[in-house]
């Protein structure tokens, strides 16, 4: 039997206002094994920790239970305190009587009862705890950045500047991401490409950065400090070492009907293509689905015109396997599909466009060479209507519940740019709210209204109806004047919600990084660990974590880089000793555990087992403690219960359940 000490924290009034801490002390004193119980205002304070220290030494405690906040807050604190007092840190259990009790209950009697029950469970568990010793693992001094947009580029540059090798994996043929598709940026209206291209060049030229474009992450194994990643370099059909980027192949390519991804399908591109002029690397790829040579075997014009002899139709996907200490996810976003909103007539009229499409139209390298014109007839519009929150802030299943955050600002930017360049165009914006929190943001919006005469109407649009004369009839409501509005427009621009890049689910699963219901990656702590994934060694950069504008993305990219650098700067990491262990006498050798292990930590060996005097050669499971992350999947999959998790054994968990149900 352990000698258990129980320490009940008031957490100021956080716990003590709802839980009768004196009563908890009184009740837990009666529990088996408990030889000491006390309460204190702030257990995590130095004075509180000193009390734990003193009790361990004076009463010869072999295990302690701290009834306090979530173990995510202070488990490490109390483990360290116990260790300083000479106790094995894994002899500490936390009963969470704050988040799991005082914060969610109002009735003191009920809450006190529950706090006692939670304490009992922790006492029952600590009675079965055994001292555990962590091992050590080495840190690979190289980082992987998944995604080559502004977030990925900035993170990579920052990590590389600290002296560590960084690889960027980008699935499209060029780095640059969404920012490369933008024309101007708010609130300063500087040209997006002008500020992005130097960053792209810096990343490409950095001696510590390797860029894999047209590549995807195929497989991730390992754990913090020691990930092994398979990167699939998709067959580009071009020898990157030979290609000079002259562009002749793209001019001569006879297959020119594929919608351009970069221009959001507003114009077409050739089968062999670089997405945009400033692409890095400036090496085209052959889209094999569109290429006549690949489809029919005939053509081969690009090969004939290529002076460098860089075309290689035989090229195959190549897998590069590389080890990394840290992984930063910077997979970014896309805009949602708006065809589901029939009321806005996006799929019925070419003149209803999304804001990102407008960016391309306004851009000098875009499908209209920067001239604002209707895509249906090429005419110059006179009346433009912007509709905000298309798919954002939705209460139904059709759209997103969240605010996409950037739309208010970019719409103000679009409105201002149009009014500036084409004073003859009237611009009307239908909005729910205008949200401008950010440095110089509200001033920017005021300028659009006051200096540029943009007509902002608070109210939503119910319908956009294409008219026989080619115009669009916008039916909306003005909530301030409380009247219906019918407005003829030549173009309608939808501020479509943004959502995480589709592929992020696959990547999150490979990384065992958690993801929320909107597919945004979850941070480890919403306030205190915003750029760290709960999965150790995985960091979050940019919109993959939540909607952000460019300055926020760049700031977060730097923060993620610092966290990655902090990890890479270490030579060794202490490993978690709460790993799985197989009881060879009970193991059936059935491989179920190895099948479910996400870390590949379980192997099988055939060896002689002495089972109470019976010697038998058996196939038994063996756990690699360096690879095991203690997730416990194997322990629940094991049919015989041979697999157990140290520190969270089946027996301990059943003891907790028993204590709760008693």
């Amino acid at each position: 039997m352990q000698r258990v000490g129980v320490f009940v924290c008031h957490c100021g009034s956080n716990i003590a206002a709802t839980v009768d801490v004196k009563k908890v002390v009184e009740m837990v004193s009666l529990e088996p094994g408990v030889v000491h119980a006390e309460d204190y205002q702030y257990m995590c304070s130095e004075a509180g920790q000193a009390r734990i220290d003193a009790a361990i030494k004076e009463k010869g405690l072999t295990g302690i239970v701290v009834c306090s906040c979530s173990p995510r807050m202070h488990e490490a604190t109390f483990r360290k305190a116990a260790e300083r007092a000479g106790l094995n840190p894994y002899m500490v259990e936390i009963a969470n009587i704050r988040e799991h009790c005082s914060w969610i209950h109002k009735d003191m009697e009920e809450a006190t009862k529950k706090a006692v029950v939670l304490a009992r469970a922790a006492i029952a568990k600590v009675n079965l705890n055994a001292p555990l010793q962590p091992g050590e693992s080495l840190v690979t001094k190289r980082a992987l950045v998944i995604g080559g947009g502004i977030a990925g580029i900035q993170t990579a540059i920052d990590i590389a500047d600290a002296g560590y090798e960084v690889d960027i994996v980008e699935k499209t043929p060029s780095i640059g991401g969404r920012m490369s598709q933008l024309d101007k940026t708010f609130p300063t209206l500087d040209c997006s490409a002008c500020i992005l291209t130097p960053k792209m060049v810096e990343a490409a030229a950095h001696e510590k950065i390797t860029i894999y474009t047209y590549s995807e992450v195929d497989k991730v194994t390992g754990f913090v400090g020691d990930f092994t990643v398979d990167i699939r370099k998709k067959a580009r059909s071009i020898d990157m070492n030979k290609c000079t980027g002259c562009g002749v192949c793209q001019e001569k390519c006879p297959s020119k009907k594929t919608p351009s991804e970069f221009n959001r399908g507003l114009n077409t591109r050739s089968a062999i293509y670089t997405p945009f002029a400033q692409a890095i690397p400036n090496v085209p790829v052959i889209d094999r689905d569109a290429c006549i040579k690949f489809k029919t075997g005939k053509c081969g014009i690009c090969e004939k015109v290529c002076q460098a002899g860089a075309i290689d139709y035989e090229q195959k996907d190549e897998i590069v396997t590389q080890k990394y200490g840290a992984i930063v996810v910077a997979t970014g976003f896309d805009v949602i599909k708006v065809d589901q909103y029939e009321e806005y007539a996006y799929s019925q009229s070419k003149d209803v466009i999304t804001s990102l499409e407008l960016e391309r139209i306004m851009n000098a390298a875009g499908p209209t060479k920067g001239h604002l014109e209707r895509l249906s007839d090429g005419k110059h519009p006179k009346e433009m209507v912007f509709i905000q929150c298309v798919g954002s802030r939705c209460s139904d299943d059709k759209g997103k519940s969240y605010c996409s955050k950037i739309c208010c600002m970019y719409t103000a930017k679009h409105a201002m740019l149009i009014r500036d360049k084409y004073p003859d165009v009237n611009v009307t914006v239908f909005y729910i709210d205008v949200r401008t929190p950010g440095k110089n943001f509200d001033e920017f919006y005021r300028r659009a209204v006051e200096d540029y005469g943009v007509n902002y109407i608070k109210g939503q649009v119910g319908k956009v109806a294409p008219q026989p004369d080619g115009s669009l009839l916008v039916q909306g409501v003005d909530l301030i004047d409380n009247k219906q509005i019918l407005k003829k427009a030549d173009m309608v621009v939808l501020a479509a919600a943004i959502e995480p890049e589709k592929d992020v689910r696959r990547i999150a699963t490979m990384l065992t990084a958690s993801i929320d219901t909107n597919n945004f990656l979850t941070e480890s702590h919403a306030k205190l660990r915003p750029v760290e994934s709960p999965t150790a060694g995985v960091f979050l950069s940019g919109v993959c974590q939540g909607p952000k504008d460019i300055p926020e993305t760049v700031a977060q990219a730097g923060a993620a880089a610092v966290k990655a650098i902090g990890l890479l700067a270490k030579d060794k990491l202490l490993t978690n000793p709460c790993t799985a262990k197989a009881d060879e006498l009970m193991c059936n050798g059935c491989s179920t555990c190895a099948n479910v292990c996400p870390y590949g930590a379980i192997t099988y060996e055939t060896k002689e087992i002495n089972d109470h005097g019976i010697r038998e050669t058996r196939r038994v499971a063996s756990v690699n403690n360096a690879l095991c992350q203690g997730c416990g999947a194997c322990t629940v999959a094991c049919p015989s219960g041979a697999m157990d998790l140290q520190g969270f054994s089946n027996r301990q968990i059943l003891a907790e359940v028993d204590a709760i149900c008693r």
Binding site: M586, N588, R619, S640
Partner: protein, 324 residues
């Protein structure tokens, strides 16, 4: 049947196998039992007829540890269990010489008794050469008859088919016996209200005497040490502390075999209390089919079961939750 004995004798004589795993006559004509035969003489007691329902796959776990090969007779449905045991590394394929033996539907004396036929002394018409239409039952009260199909085990009415999934050779013809929908019984229970379901299982499971026959016969329950026998986790005592004991035992067992159960129906066949235990397993099979696509455990020896595999098409937990 005699051809099976002759072939077994040949294989014993030429040294291909060291022993034979089959069925021998029991004390009554309707209760043959699994048996090892080590010689031609012992094979004189070999029997194979409509009452040889016992699935011999699980016996191969121990037989795999013996010197030499064992000749084992497996009916089509038994071969699924054998494959599943190979997949779980519990039997050694190299130690087995498998004769896939034909099956015309297996019988249950309980089904005959259920028709009010008492004092049974012997039953005729269950042989592999008989016509499978009528059984003649000699009783203390004179001869009675019963249709073959009415006496058949539930599992044969939802037969998985005549194909052997694994074998070295096949002997004797099989017969199509499927005349019911596999999940009809499960659907009937699913249609009940929660109260009705509880009452149904309360009634059935309260008959349980914890004889462990279902567990001992189950090819999926092949653990060296069953959690219910282990002192390591206090589970042995746990199952005893409440009146809910039997239910927990069967529910836990169903969870343990989920995704691995081939639906061989042995649990229900051997239950001395007549509890339809296969219903639990079949509910899991139906749910697995619904959520993860059609899956039949034991169809092969390599693939991962749906519960130990992950694909991006897997159903979201919320959807499973909605379905209840």
């Amino acid at each position: 049947m005699q051809e099976l004995v002759n072939r077994a004798k040949e294989l014993l004589a030429d040294g291909t196998v060291s022993r034979v795993l089959g069925w021998k006559a029991g004390d009554m004509s309707y209760n043959p039992e699994p048996a090892y035969f080590n010689s031609a003489e012992e094979l004189e007691n070999f029997v194979y007829d409509g009452f040889c329902g016992a699935n011999l796959s699980k016996y191969m776990i121990e037989a795999s540890k013996l010197e030499g090969k064992t000749l084992v007779f497996l009916k089509p449905c038994d071969t699924y269990s054998f494959n599943q045991l190979i997949k779980e590394h519990r039997v050694d394929r190299e130690k087995a010489y498998i004769i896939g033996v034909g099956c015309k539907g297996k019988l249950s004396v309980e089904n005959i008794k259920a028709q009010g036929i008492k004092g049974i002394e012997s039953i005729e018409g269950a042989g592999m050469n008989d016509g499978c239409d009528t059984l003649t039952i000699k009783t203390l009260y004179g001869d009675k008859t019963c249709s073959y199909n009415d006496a058949m085990l539930e599992r044969c009415h939802v037969c998985k088919g005549k194909e052997h999934q694994i074998s070295d050779e096949v002997m004797l013809e099989s017969r199509d016996t499927k005349d019911a929908e596999r999940f009809a019984q499960v659907e009937a229970i699913e249609a009940m209200t929660p109260e009705e379901k509880f009452a149904f299982f309360q009634k059935e499971l309260s008959k349980c005497i914890r004889c462990n026959a279902c567990r001992n016969v189950c090819p999926a329950c092949s653990c060296r040490k069953c959690v219910f026998d282990s002192t390591k986790y206090d589970t042995a005592q746990k199952a005893n502390v409440t009146s809910f004991e039997e239910k927990m035992f069967h529910i836990i067992r169903a969870f343990h075999v989920a995704g691995r159960c081939t639906d061989c129906g042995e649990c229900s066949r051997v239950c001395p209390q007549g509890i339809p235990l296969h219903l639990f397993n079949r509910k899991f099979i139906k749910d697995i089919d619904t959520f993860y696509g059609e899956f039949q455990a034991g169809e092969d020896t390599e693939s991962r079961g749906p519960l130990t595999n992950f694909t991006f098409d897997d159903v979201e937990p919320s959807i499973v939750g909605e379905r209840g």
